[in-house]
Structures are given as structure tokens and as C-alpha cells.
Symmetry: C2
Subunit: 325 residues, 2 copies
């Protein structure tokens, strides 16, 4: 079997995971021609993201985790728009075609794709340094942007923060450590982030502004503050920290990662005070912790994010605008 046929065969299972209606009636053509053709209806949200070996993941990441993660970060972007994923394209650059590696990579991706019933509908395979680009597409009848935050809104985050940064640290140091259940959980949180697809979808009409936490809470809330022209106050006492994180690292380190560590892929959003019951209800029915971590303090010319009760000095982290109280 030549490389071309091998790749084609290996990727086949990813092409038929869509919900029946979107797999058949919505696609006139998927893989196998010069382009895919989608019979469109309604708003289509799409997000493109590249992961580069040595930059976004270490060369020794298990390939199934890598496949999972590449798709997860894109689905997280869709969730942050309140979009429901429909399908995706994959451009993968590989140093060589190694069947075992590729099979594992695809099985990790399939795991997540199957859960959300989305199909691979187009792609390109090229030779070169390992680089993976995915464009994910979703249905988005009522998008939630970054620019809708209003003064008086509460600021919420899903899940817990800082786990992924801790997980990366543990992964890099794993040969010098004994990995207990907590530490393995944190590594998993880095390698297999959970895109909050159902929550993002449900928050349409509830959240005023939303994004996913990929660069770190403070950096990401700054995007909301700037786009909405408001200032946001985060209370470090309120940050949701997992038992695994608190069991594995001291409080200072945990808070620092929760504020500035990236890659958690939790949703951060603002919602009016009246929506607090709706948020609590969604948290319960979706079984996803949602924590109020602050509020939109004021509308001013210098959009900014400030932190109170930080047990650490956030100014040394390069965030000039933050003040400790």
C-alpha cells in the first residue's frame, strides 16, 4: 500500500461521524474532489487553529492525546461563540508517514469527534515538520461575542482554572516525580482539555460576552474588557481551584496559574445579575461547575482587568493594569 492510499484509509473513519441529517443532506461533496461543498443554511461560525510541535505540544505527547487536543481547542473556540459544531477540515504536515503513530492520532481525534457527532469533510496531508491545522465549523443562530459585557455584569468561569499549566509542568518533570492520581489528572487536563460545547450552546441568550480561556484568565478577560470597553474586577479568593491542583502545588502557585496559566479551555463569560439563577440552573443540569469570579466594574476609557485579594504580586507577571487591594 502506498503512503497516499494508507493515509486515505486511515482517515476514512473520521469522515462518517456526523449526525445523519448533516452528513448526508447537508453535504453535496466531502473528501475526494477539489473542494467540499456544503449546502448551507443559517449562520456558520468557523475558527482555524494551528498546533506546532515544540511550541504547542512536546514531541513526546502521546499521539492519541495530540489528536484529541487539536480538535478540542477548535471546538472550544466554537463553544465560546455559542456555536454547535457541525464539521471540520484538517491540514496535517508530517515528517514521515508512520502507521502506528497516525492510527493513534486519528483514534484520539475520533474519540472527541464521535462524542460531538462531527465529520472530517476535507483536508490536506503534506510532508514537513509536524504541524496540525484544523478549521472547525459550527451552526451559530445566536452568537455570543466578546464585546457585549455591560457594567454590573457578573463574571463567571466554568470548571477549574490552572490545571493545564500545572499539568504541563508535571508532564515536563514526570521523570523526576512519582505521579499520583491527582498529578495524572492534571496532566490529562493539559493533554485532553474538555471543550465546553453544551455549556457554550446553552449560554446563548444568557451571557453578554464570552470567550474560552486559552491564554490565561487575566489575558483573556482583557480581551473582553477591551472589546466591550469596560473594566473588570476579578476576586482571586473566588477562583475555582481543583482538589488535584491544591493537593499537588502550594496555594500561591495555584493562584498564579489560575490567573495566568493558559490552555484550560474553560469558558469565561459575563452575564447580568438577574441571570444568576439561570446560570445556576445550567450548571446543575449540565453537571459543570460554574463559579462567579468577579464583576464588570465600570465603563471607562482605559479598559482593563484588575485583581483583588491576589495572594501573589500580579504586577511582576507583566500585567501593568492589575492592582492589588
Amino acid at each position: 500500500m502506498d503512503e497516499f492510499t494508507l493515509i486515505k484509509t486511515l482517515f476514512q473513519p473520521l469522515q462518517e461521524l456526523g449526525r445523519e441529517e448533516q452528513a448526508s443532506s447537508s453535504f453535496l461533496k466531502k473528501i475526494g474532489d477539489d473542494a467540499a461543498v456544503w449546502k448551507g443554511q443559517g449562520n456558520l461560525a468557523f475558527s482555524i487553529d494551528t498546533l506546532v510541535e515544540g511550541v504547542h505540544f512536546t514531541p513526546d505527547i502521546p499521539p492519541d492525546d495530540l489528536g484529541y487536543r487539536c480538535l478540542a481547542v477548535n471546538l472550544s473556540d466554537l463553544a465560546a461563540m455559542s456555536a454547535t459544531p457541525l464539521f471540520y477540515t484538517l491540514a496535517i504536515t508530517l515528517p514521515k508517514v508512520e502507521q502506528a503513530w497516525l492510527s493513534a492520532f486519528i483514534s484520539g481525534m475520533e474519540n472527541l469527534a464521535r462524542k460531538h457527532q462531527i465529520s472530517l469533510v476535507g483536508g490536506d496531508t503534506t510532508k514537513g515538520p509536524l504541524t496540525i491545522t484544523i478549521q472547525a465549523h459550527g451552526s451559530c443562530p445566536d452568537p455570543v461575542y466578546r464585546d457585549g459585557a455591560k457594567v454590573g455584569d457578573d463574571v463567571y468561569v466554568s470548571g477549574s482554572l490552572g490545571d493545564a499549566a500545572a499539568g504541563l509542568k508535571l508532564w515536563l518533570d514526570r521523570n523526576t516525580l512519582t505521579l499520583d492520581e491527582h498529578k495524572n489528572y492534571l496532566i490529562q487536563r493539559f493533554h485532553r482539555p474538555t471543550p465546553r460545547v453544551e455549556l457554550g450552546d446553552a449560554l446563548s441568550g444568557v451571557a453578554h460576552a464570552m470567550l474560552d480561556v486559552s491564554d490565561g484568565l487575566l489575558a483573556d478577560l482583557t480581551h473582553i474588557a477591551e472589546a466591550s470597553d469596560v473594566s473588570i474586577m476579578v476576586d482571586a479568593h473566588l477562583l475555582p481551584l481543583s482538589d488535584a491542583l491544591l493537593n499537588s502545588f502550594d496555594k500561591h502557585q495555584a493562584v498564579e496559574w489560575a490567573l495566568t496559566g493558559g490552555d484550560d479551555y474553560e469558558l469565561a463569560f459575563t452575564a447580568p445579575v438577574e441571570a444568576c439563577d439561570a446560570v445556576r440552573f445550567l450548571s446543575r443540569i449540565l453537571n459543570i461547575p460554574i463559579t462567579r469570579v468577579g464583576s464588570v466594574a465600570s465603563s471607562n476609557t482605559e479598559a482593563s482587568v484588575q485583581v483583588k485579594n491576589a495572594v501573589i504580586d500580579v504586577t511582576r507577571l507583566g500585567y501593568n493594569h492589575f492592582q492589588n487591594e
Copy 2:
């Protein structure tokens, strides 16, 4: 100015080149949020392609040519579906942010984007080995696939063939050569291929099957033969060879490149004999040479492409199915 701001500023001009109606009313959100949101209507064709340094282009390619070329190969895929380009996304991995290089790259891309009035609507910039992935999207009310070729169809190609392969050879050897007008033309054909967008669009309803010549005429016609389950006969005497090619290389070499050289990005299509006047008319009004190079010979179980009058031995090129007559 930090790198992030620099990149944002440099890419700005690419974001507002769309036709008025598609730039404003069709996009709820372009760059600047977690995802772009397109207010869809009708069939959307999309194609994703990656170009890797050292594989698809040499490290010394002029950056403006590279920017042009990356977009051109994607628009060519859309043309091959008979789709009209609407917008595109760009994921670029850069070893470092060098303003002069990036400005030239963007200006080359802008040149082509402006011609087709298409906007950059989303993207990702990452650090790593130079790799460029573009997904181009087009409106496609009446797509032409690869699988529609019928016995008795004529087989046509646009423009001339073999120029890009010759251009690549000349580019690699340029330090040992005197580059005359012809040779520079061939290099340009490799670096700045012309996507046949208007022709592809116009061939909807005329062509039975179509694709763009990226891997070489014989390899690409094999895709049509296999998808349509037919056998195709190409007459090497009929191949359109440019004056520049015939002036720079001997006939044998020219024919070999026309049959097997890639990267010409011309359209190859089949159409019924009755359509020959329509094809001639399109050639004249669009001012694009279109040449009949063969015909769809028979429907058989062993889909194949055969060559007659080849002045070269095509079997030595690794194409088992081809026969000389």
C-alpha cells in the same frame, strides 16, 4: 510595537477587500473574536491547502510571490469546482516575525485577493517552521465534480502545460544561467500561477467533469478517469506548449513536463462534443486559450489514462497504464 500588534496591523489591509455585499451583510463577525460568523446562503465550497518551506517552495522564493502563490493554489481548487471565491482564512507558522518579509508576503497575497475581491476573515499566527495553510471558501450554486465524465466527451485544458515544471527547474538553476524573457516568464508561471476563476465559473453547465492540474496532466486526468469510471485517451500532439517553453527546452523535455509536470494550475475538463462551440466562445470572450487534448474513450472496469503520439516513453515515468501507439 509588540509582535502581536505588528502582525495585526500588517494583516489589516487583507480584511477589507471583499465585494461590498459579502463584506458587510454576509459577515456578522470577521477577525477579532473566537470565530468568524458567516450568514450563509446557498452552497459553500471550501478547500484547505498547506504549503511547506523546502517542500512546496524553496526558502529563497520572493515573499510576495509566496503570498500570491499560497492564495492562488486555493482559488484554483475553487475554480475547479466552478465556485466563485468569497473569502478565506489563513493559518501561518513563522520562524520569526520580520516586518519586511511579512509586508512583502501580504502584498503578494493582497494583489490576488484584490483582483478577486475576497477578504481574509479569520486566521492564526504561530511560531515554528515556515508553513502556510489557507482555506478558501466560494459560492457554488452548480458544482462540477470529477466524477461526471461521459464516454465520447472531449478533454480540454486551459492555457499551456509544462511551464511551471520548467520554471521550477530554471529557478533552481538560475545562478548558472542567463535568464531571458522566456525563462523569466516560465519562472513567473511557477511562482505566480493564474487560478482560472472566471473560466471555472463559466464552465458550470458546460463541463461534465473538471479539476485543476496540480500534480501533472496524466496524474490528474487519472483522478477523473477513476472517479468517473472511464478511460481517457490523450494525444500528445495536441498538448498546448508555450513559446517560452519551446524556446527554452527541447521538444521531448517540453512534452514530458506537459504530461507529468505539476503546478500549472490550469483547468482540465471534459465536455460533450456538442459543447465545442460553447467552449470556443468562452475561450474567446475570456481571452484564455482552451485546447482539446483528447477524449473519453470508453467506460471499462480498469479506469485509466492512455497517451498516443507521445514522443517520449511514458512508461518509464511510472505510469503503468499508459500505452504508446
